[in-house]
Each structure stands twice: as structure tokens, then as C-alpha cells.
Amino acid sequence: MKKIWDFHGGIHPKENKDQSNQSAITDAGIPPQLIVPLQQHIGQQAELVVSVGDKVLKGQLIADAHGPVSVAVHAPSSGTITAIEEHEVPHPSGMSDLCVFIETDGKDEWCELSPCEDYSTLTPAEILGKVRSAGIAGMGGAGFPTEIKLRPPREDKVNTLILNAAECEPYITSDDRLMRERAEEVILGLEIMAYVLQPNECLIGIEDNKPEAIEALREAAKETQIDIVVIPTKYPSGGEKQLIKVLTGKEVPSGRIPADISVMCQNVATSTAVYRAVRFGEPLISRVTTLTGDCIANKGNQQVLIGTPVSWLLEKNGYLNQKGSRLVMGGPMMGFTLDQTNIPTVKTSNCILAASPKELPQPDSAMACIRCGMCSEVCPAELLPQQLYWFAKGQEFEKAEHHNLFDCIECGACSYVCPSSIPLVQYYRYAKGEVKQIKADLEKSNQARERFEFRQERIEREKEEKEAKRKARSEAAAKAQAAKKAAAEAEAKESKEGTAEPSQAPVTAKAEVSPAPEVTLESLQKKLLMAEDKLSKMEAAWKDAQENNPERAEKLAIAVESSKANVKKFTLQITELGGGASDTPAGPSLEELESNLEKTKGKLQLILNTLEDAKQNHPDRVEKLERAVAKNHTRVASAELALREASEQQSKQQASKLEPTESKG
């Protein structure tokens, strides 16, 4: 007896399997219209290879796998394609997707198939090719493309191949009946997959509530190395991660896949599909679906063509809609409700549960969470659902993530046991969605930021390049001009002096050019400013020297005079150069100078008055005041001088301005 392990938590809901597992699988028949969705699995949509009006045979390819994660779709029966358009597909959101509508002709005429008596004559690659072209996707739940799953990434060797026969969800018995009736196909399919993967061991994990199926499998697997492991019935033992834990004691690391620990799980129904694809060349066009629930009269398992509308199935089997009843695709723990019945069955539709309100009553209004902890006791992922609920409700998504929100498998055990009827799983779905959205937004804003920064950088770079170009251009222009000038000079010289030594030309040109730079207004104004600056400095120094150092003062007075002469010269030059001076006032205006003079005179008078006063009353202050008087006398004098000069200059300017007018007149 193989050792088995236990996983944390789990629940024992009422099984409700007897309603549907008592009778053999029957054929559901051919509906008048098949609605075949082009995407029945995760990944990319299959690519159409037929068009409206085409006649198709049973098993004929109607859409081919497109891209790495994609699955081909085949016509489930012979007939005519009447439309290819959007239609509601089985999805919790009730969304629409592209579907091929086939009007069946009832002949159920097969296309040509390529059977293979002995799979061992094929290479593993050929088998994978057959699995791919048969359009097989995992029939247990998510519908992941089987061919890709059978080709584990990163060269991981699969040591343990597990066939998931747990079927732990209440009500569903499609795998149970399949194993009872077609155990050989199940075992052969597993052998084919083992041939591809070459694992060390092959296990079939099956819950102990299916004794007949266990017996049938044991019988079929007698001659093989396959180990049929009977595990205790506990929901959700059929969860991939849980089953791996039970059978191997190993855990799939968070965020990884079973192949990372050298384990692979396949579903029972997938195994039979693989067998039929390899042995008979049959594509996956039908599956066993459980029809159950109190609202259906004819309960049981049926071989249903993919694309069969649920409404047709229900009608045919005595569906009685009651007020408040639920129509669930899948089981009562993880299935989703259909809000209308005109929806096709797909490769993953293992059960249609038409439950009366008595079976699945409306949930009570949720009460406050009292943190009783029953949820954490049953959580198979060993999370703290009560804390996750708290964080989801309070939108503390970071904390929720820290509490391993994304390891929740949404099995629903927590909601099942919650005495306050809180729809916990819904909160986790919400939180997961929000976190994903936040991450996507963050990604987006990061990209936007990067783009912005890149753009800024580019603009900056372009600016610099432009600047550099401009500089280069102006330099080139200056050089060209210089060269031109030089050439012109040389020419002039040549013409003046007749024949000059050619070797002398550049030297003379240089000599000519350097001492005579262009006299511009700008340079003159600069010189003027500098001269004015020097003048004011000299004046200050002179005043200072007058008091302390009379010898120096004389020298300085000369310097002041020369500076004044400089200022005058430059001002004159600017006016000569073309009215620039009149626009840019070279110094203080006449009025300013006048008021300055007045002020200085006033101050002098004030000090003189104070001096008179001091002579009588404060002899100690007299000396100081006399010095101040002297200082102010010079100030007055310089102010008068400035005023005089300024008025002279102005009259000159006016005269020069008047000249052209006069000459005109």
C-alpha cells in the first residue's frame, strides 16, 4: 500500500453523487444547431479555416491552433456552417466570444481519420503532434492545452505522472462513470502519456467514495506499472496542488507549476481523449457531462457533443424551472451560474447542475465576521481567510498580499463553513482583481514615466546638438569672413602695390586684421561702462585721499580727469556711431544732476548752520564739522562740474541731431 499524506483543512459537503451515477452514460444526441466557441481554454483563440456556407464533416478542422498556447477546434458533427459570430460562451462574466454555428444534417458523417494500432511505433513528438491536432485541452477545469502541458518547460523531467480521478466536487460524476465504463481507455491514455514523458511512477489518485470505479481501474491496470491510490474523500482533494500533496507529500512552491517539482497531473477525461486521438485519430469533439439537480427529471451522464446548447440538453431531459433556481455549469463549489440557457457546452463542461432553491438555497444576508476561525481551519492552502476578508474589505491590498492572497485557490471551503454567511471567495476575487489592476496601472505609469523621461532626454539632446551645430556654423562663417577679408585685403594690396610677394600676403593680412577689429556699438558701450566704473572709483579714492593723503590726491585728481576724458570720448564715439547713446543714457540725466546739486548744496548749508551753532556751544564738534563742510564743498563742486558737462554734451548732441535736418531743409 502506497503511503499517502494529508493536506490541511478541507470539508465534507453532502456528496449528492447518487442522483447521477446510477445509470450508464447515454448519448445525448445531435442537436439541430451546434454553437462551437473558438476559444474554450486559456491562451489564444483558434484561427478559422472555414467560412459561412461551408459543408463540414464530423471531426473536420474548423479552426486551427494559432500561437503557442492555443487549441484547434473541430466540427462535432456533420452539417453546414450557417454563421460565424459573437455569442455568449460559458464564462462567469457571461461574456460573448466568436462562435461557429453549424446546422447539423443528422448524418453524423465522419471525415477521414488516421488511426494507429500501436502507439509505440510513433515517436513522442509524433504523439504530441496528434494530441495537438486533436485539439485536446485539460478537461478537468482550466482547460490548459494538453500538448503544451505534456511538454514540460525547462527540460524538467517528470518523475511522477498523476491521473487526477478524485472528482471531489459534489454532484459531479462524469469521471466516475467514465472510469467505470471505459477504464481501459483511461489506462491506455495514461500509458500513452507515460510513453511520452517516461516518468518513474504513474499514479491514479481516486477518492474512496467511488468503489466501482476503483475496481474497474484496478482490473484494467492489472498488467501495468500504474499504481491506483485510494485517498480519503475530502473536498478539495481533486485540486491539483492538494492531490500532489496527498500522493507525494510534496508541495508545489507558491507561484510555480507542478513540473517544477517533477510532477504532472492529468485529468481522467483528458486521458481518454488522448487515447482516442492517438488510437483512432479522433479529435476532441464530445465529452461526458453530468446532468443533475432537482430541476432535471432525467439525471445522469451523457456523451455530449461540444457546442450543444444547454437549453437543448435541458429541454430534452425534462427541465423544470423553479423560481429562485440556479443553473450551474460545473459543481456547486467552484462552478459558475448561467443566467441564460442558450449557451454551448465546451471541452471543460463536466457538469450542468440545475438546482432547485431547496437544494441550493439563496444565501442568507451576511452577518458580521466574528473571526471564529472556521474558515482558516478548512482552508486547504492554510491561509487566514478571516484576515484576508478583513483586508479585502478594508482595501488593504498590500496586507492581503502579505497574507498570501494569491495562493488562494478559490475552492470555496471558507465560504461553505462561514457561520455568518459571508461570501468570502467573492471578496478574494475582488481583492485579486484590484491588486492586478493596481499592478497594471503601476506598470502603465512606470512606462509613461520612462517615456516622459526619455522624451525629456531626447529634447535636451536635440537642443544641445542644435546649439553645437549653430556654433560650428557661426565659427565657420567667421572663418570664411576672415578669409574673405584677408583675400580682399591681399587683393587690394596687390592692386595697390602691383605685384607683391604672395608669401607676404597672409602676414600682412594678419597684421591688418588684428589691430582693426570692427568697432561696434556694443564694444563701445562696454568700454563706456568700464570707464564710468573707473571714474566713480577714482572719484571715491580722490575724495578719500583729499582728507588723508593730499599728495596722493593730486595724482588721483589727474586720474579722475583722464577717466572723465575717457568717458566723454566713448560717449562721443557712441553718439557718432549712430544715435545709440541717445537711446541708452550714458550717465545720469540733466534733471538728476540738477537735483543732486541742489541736494548737496542743501546739505552743505545745513552743515554750515550746524557749524555756526557748534562754534558757540560745542567747541569739541567744530573740527569734525569743518571737515564735513570741506567735504561737502568738494561734492558741490563736483556736482556743478557734472551738471555743466552734461548740459554741454546735451547741447552738442542736439546740434549733431539738428545737422541732418538742416541739410535736408
Partner: protein
């Protein structure tokens, strides 16, 4: 066609919060019976009186908060608070003491923090601690003497009169300090043999008290079997209390012996009915063990070194404070992780 669109899971288990609360109330009945049998009508009257106040206070706050009355009253959480206080308060506590305790528990400790499920502190124990601090005389002198030790036990109406203050009984004749209190005060100047001569200690551990505690233990075990709560908190609390009293009180001539600690006070009521309040306790199994052990240790410390004869209320409240911190450091290891995450943030 009226088909309902509801997300999975569609099946729901039979458990209901209101049922759980009801079961909790029902399993306190053996304890209540034992209290009444040994100590007279006081606790029975208190339980009824406290329940009435609890429901009235709950209804009042719900009205003020504009919440549906029936929906919330039906969860029985207020009733549980009332019943627990009725059991915990001294049997002959005056009516106004109970009124203050229960009203404070429901209005302040429960609803001002957001109502059921949101209160950080155990409401019953907040109420109890409030009156213990505010009315120490009433709270320490209202313990009824075992009825069998009295010549004329109080009749039902006499008890009612005493509690509601219209009787003329000399209350002192019917009250007595609790065994824990007596032992603690007398062992200081006596030896165990002499102390236990006091009839209050009876034939086994403490007259009447041992049966009361056994009755609560039985009720608690029933809840445990019914999986209303897990074993972690009560078991760790009792073990911690036992170890503490063995380690520090092994000499019965010096300190209160372990058996008295376990069976003479509110220990079993506290372990199975107070400490297990899920709202205010730690959540993970490991957290519950720490939480329960903390209550056990604090109970012993306060009983042995504090000035109050019993300590469940303070110990529980102190650990209520610690519960969020404990939660932070006791996340269980999730499937697929090598080890459990610890602390508030991921170490990066």
C-alpha cells in the same frame, strides 16, 4: 426565465452564527445550575437581569445607529454578553452594579467600537473590570456564602430583595469572601492545614466552587467537541496557569495551590467562555496558544501578586491588547512556502 446569478460556492454548510451563540448560552446552564444549587438564587436572578439589560441596551444602540433591530438581536451576541456577566458578577451584587457593567459592555465596549465583530476588547470583561475598579466594596462583599453553610439560606424573594434593595436582610450574614481570597490572605500567617479548616473549602477543593468549575468545564468540552472553538486557547491557558502555580505555588503552606487556582475561581468560565471569544482573540492556531498562555500566566501573576482576588478579567483584557501583535507574528505557513511569513512586512 428567472435564473440567479451568484458566484461560487453555491453550497453552504449548516452552521449559523446565531446557532453558535445559542449553543454557547445553553452550555452555560450546567454551570448556572451549580451556582444556584450551591450559592442560592443570586446568579440566576443576575443572569436574567443582565440579559434583559443587554438586550435593551443592544436595541437602544441599534435604534440610535438606525440598524435593523430583529436582524441584529437575532444573532444572540448581546445575550451571550449578558449571560456571561450574570455568571461572572458576585451573586448578591446590587442591581445597579450589574446595570452599569452590562450597559457599559454593550454600549461602550461593543457598539462604540463598531458593534459585533469589531470590538477589540471582550465586552463582558470590560464591563466587569469597570465595576470591579469603580465599586470595589460591592464587588468583593457580595459573594454569597455556600447555602449549605447557612442556617437559614436566603429564599428567592429575599435574594431578589437584597439585589434590588427593597429587603431588610442583613446582607453580611449571607456573604463570605471567596476561597481564593481567604486562602491568599490567611496563608500569610498560617499553614495550609489550618487554612483549609475553614468550611468554605469543603471536602474537596472549595465548597461548591469545584462543582461550578466542573460544570463549566463540561459545557466547555461540549463546545470543543462541537467545534465551536478550537482547543488551543483554553488548553494553553489552563496549562500555563497550572505550570505557573506549580512553579511558584508548589508549597501549599506558602501560596495558593494549583487545584485551588483551577477549580476555585472563575477559571473554567474564563478558559472556555471568556478567553475563547473569537472576536478579541488571536486568530491562528499558534497565535491562540500564545494568547491563551498569556492569559494563564497573567491570571496567576495578578492573583498571586495583585490586590484583586480573581484576575480573569484583567488577564483577558491585557491579552486583547496583545492579540493584533500576536497575529502579526503567527501567520501560519501557507501551502507552497518553505516557511511562514513573520512580521508586518516582507523582509526584502
Amino acid at each position: 426565465m428567472a435564473l440567479m446569478n451568484i458566484t461560487s460556492p453555491h453550497a453552504h454548510g449548516p452552521r449559523k452564527t446565531a446557532t453558535l451563540m445559542r449553543v454557547v448560552v445553553i452550555t452555560t446552564l450546567p454551570g448556572l445550575f451549580a451556582l444556584t444549587w450551591f450559592f442560592g438564587w443570586g446568579n440566576l436572578i443576575n443572569v436574567v437581569w443582565c440579559s434583559i439589560i443587554a438586550l435593551a441596551a443592544e436595541a437602544l444602540v441599534l435604534l440610535i445607529r438606525k440598524r435593523p433591530l430583529a436582524f441584529y438581536l437575532k444573532d444572540y451576541s448581546a445575550l451571550v454578553t449578558g449571560v456571561l456577566l450574570g455568571l461572572a458578577l458576585p451573586p448578591l451584587a446590587p442591581w445597579w452594579v450589574s446595570l452599569v457593567a452590562v450597559a457599559f459592555a454593550i454600549i461602550i465596549a461593543k457598539h462604540l467600537y463598531g458593534g459585533m465583530g469589531y470590538n477589540p476588547f471582550n465586552p463582558a470583561m470590560v464591563g466587569f473590570a469597570l465595576v470591579l475598579i469603580s465599586f470595589p466594596v460591592a464587588m468583593t462583599t457580595s459573594w454569597a456564602a455556600p447555602a449549605s453553610l447557612l442556617e437559614n439560606p436566603m429564599s428567592f424573594f429575599e435574594t431578589l430583595g437584597t439585589i434590588f434593595g427593597f429587603g431588610s436582610q442583613a446582607i453580611d450574614a449571607f456573604t463570605m469572601a471567596t476561597p481564593l481570597d481567604i486562602y491568599k490572605h490567611e496563608i500569610g500567617h498560617s499553614i495550609a492545614q489550618d487554612v483549609t479548616q475553614n468550611p468554605v473549602f469543603g471536602a474537596y477543593v472549595a465548597h461548591g466552587w469545584e462543582w461550578v468549575n466542573l460544570a463549566f468545564l463540561a459545557g466547555g468540552l461540549f463546545l470543543l467537541i462541537k467545534k465551536v472553538f478550537t482547543w488551543h486557547t483554553p488548553v494553553s491557558m489552563l496549562i500555563a496557569l497550572t505550570i505557573m502555580s506549580l512553579a511558584f505555588g508548589w508549597d501549599a503552606d506558602q501560596a495558593t495551590p494549583p487545584l485551588l487556582h483551577l477549580f476555585a475561581g472563575a477559571t473554567m468560565l474564563g478558559a472556555f467562555y471568556i478567553a475563547t471569544d473569537p472576536v478579541t482573540s488571536a486568530v491562528s492556531p499558534q497565535g491562540k496558544i500564545i494568547y491563551g498562555a498569556g492569559i494563564g500566566i497573567l491570571t496567576y501573576v495578578i492573583r498571586a501578586y495583585g490586590s484583586y482576588p480573581d484576575a480573569i478579567a484583567f488577564a483577558v483584557l491585557l491579552m486583547n491588547f496583545a492579540a493584533p501583535l500576536i497575529d502579526t507574528y503567527t501567520q501560519p505557513r501557507t501551502y507552497g512556502y518553505a516557511k511562514a511569513k513573520r512580521g508586518a512586512k516582507e523582509a526584502e
